[in-house]
């Protein structure tokens, strides 16, 4: 990875910690009721996966409740920079626990994988006393592009060159929307239109796999990283529009943030505040 792309400023890792921490705090608070719904599920539905592979039966209720309650609290503390050597690891473990548990009831979610990986890096990073923690930003950036690259390789391994003619993509879009429709869930109102545009599907398939396989190029130069991040964002917006699948961590830009100069966010906000503050002071009082 070039120095140009990686943490040119140590401030980036602090911004990333705050962004990821805030995201996890909000996500885990919003999703808490759904995760607690599993307390009412029949134990026969439980099929432990990933880090919880060793479980033969659901967790005791109090363990799940503690995990669900502790995660947003520790994530908030992590965002605020409070007792990072405790709050960051607890957030990583808690998030991994609740998301793995959620996905151990027959539905493998992909949307939280990158969040969990980034949290593990941040949990390790807080034990590094050196001022230059560029390695942590580099690791998060590699994990981001790695998840896309692996998805692209999987498409080629499983579907081969058939992916490029657009039929695989067309069938995926149709199946996913149909499954939602028969279950009374929200499906995309634009999917029917897209499926009627046969000419568009092959280019869309090529662009999507190009974004995934081309992800490692984002590590070469910050300008390439910016272009790739924009393409990846467009990729997720297209998935949202045509498949009604929302990847919040990616669409909000947090998953892509390790590749971007997010350390400038604070400076930009301060500049805007400074620009408008005199105008506000000059404004005559109303009323």
């Amino acid at each position: 990875m070039t120095k140009d792309v990686s943490a040119s400023r140590p401030a980036r890792i602090d911004v990333l910690r705050r962004l990821v921490g805030a995201y996890v705090a909000i996500w885990s608070a919003v999703r808490a009721p759904h995760i607690l719904d599993t307390l009412d599920f029949s134990p026969e539905r439980f099929d432990a996966v990933g880090p919880l592979w060793f479980l033969n039966s659901p967790l005791p209720s109090f363990v799940l409740v503690i995990g669900v309650l502790a995660t947003p609290v520790s994530a908030t503390l992590m965002t605020l920079g409070v007792r990072l050597r405790v709050s960051a690891p607890v957030t990583a473990i808690g998030f991994l626990l609740v998301t793995t548990y959620r996905t151990s009831w027959g539905n493998l979610f992909h949307t939280e994988n990158l969040v969990a990986l980034h949290l593990v890096v941040l949990a390790v990073m807080v034990f590094d006393d050196r001022s230059d923690r560029r390695w942590a930003v580099d690791a998060m950036a590699v994990l981001t592009v790695g998840t896309y690259f692996v998805a692209g390789v999987a498409k080629l391994r499983i579907s081969g060159t058939a992916w490029f003619d657009g039929d695989v993509l067309r069938n995926q879009i149709a199946f996913d929307n149909a499954r939602k429709a028969v279950l009374g869930d929200v499906s995309s109102p634009f999917a029917g239109w897209l499926l009627g545009q046969g000419w568009l599907l092959a280019p869309a398939a090529i662009v999507s796999i190009g974004v995934e396989l081309g992800a490692p190029l984002a590590l070469l130069h910050r300008r390439v990283a910016g272009v790739w991040a924009a393409l990846a964002m467009g990729f997720h917006l297209a998935i949202l529009v045509f498949m009604a699948i929302f990847f919040p961590y990616h669409v909000l830009g947090i998953g892509l943030a390790p590749l971007l100069p997010v350390e400038r966010l604070g400076t930009t906000v301060s500049a805007w505040t400074a620009r408008f503050r005199p105008a506000l002071k000059r404004s005559p009082p109303t009323g």
Binding site: D37, G106, N171, G184, D185, G192
Partner: protein, 103 residues
């Protein structure tokens, strides 16, 4: 994700409410399986049908709806392209359980 070629025809498990005129009203994942996740609801239905628990699931769904709703646990055979692009009806329907109403 989205790597597998799923093909055009699928057997989709679901539960529906039959209204007075015989038409079908779709139910939410929450009513079907007590979850807001559609994939989880689908997995729950599929496992229940395989275990021959469709009648039990049907009663549970009817209880969640309340009143005298008529519920069917069924498998719909769709060409998903035609279904989404043209709102085509199912190619076939297999009813595993029907409950509620005058039961």
């Amino acid at each position: 994700m989205f790597a597998t070629d799923r093909g055009e025809e699928h057997y989709l498990d679901t539960a529906v409410m039959i209204v007075d005129d015989g038409s079908v009203r779709r139910l939410s994942p929450e009513l079907i399986a007590g979850t807001d996740e559609p994939v989880l609801a689908a997995v729950t239905l599929t496992r229940g049908i395989r275990r021959r628990d469709a009648a039990v699931m049907c009663e549970e769904i009817a209880a969640r709806i309340g009143g005298s709703a008529v519920v069917e646990v069924r498998t719909e055979h769709h060409n998903v392209i035609d279904f989404i692009a043209d709102d085509a009806p199912p190619i076939g329907i297999t009813t595993h359980a029907r409950c509620g109403g005058d039961d």
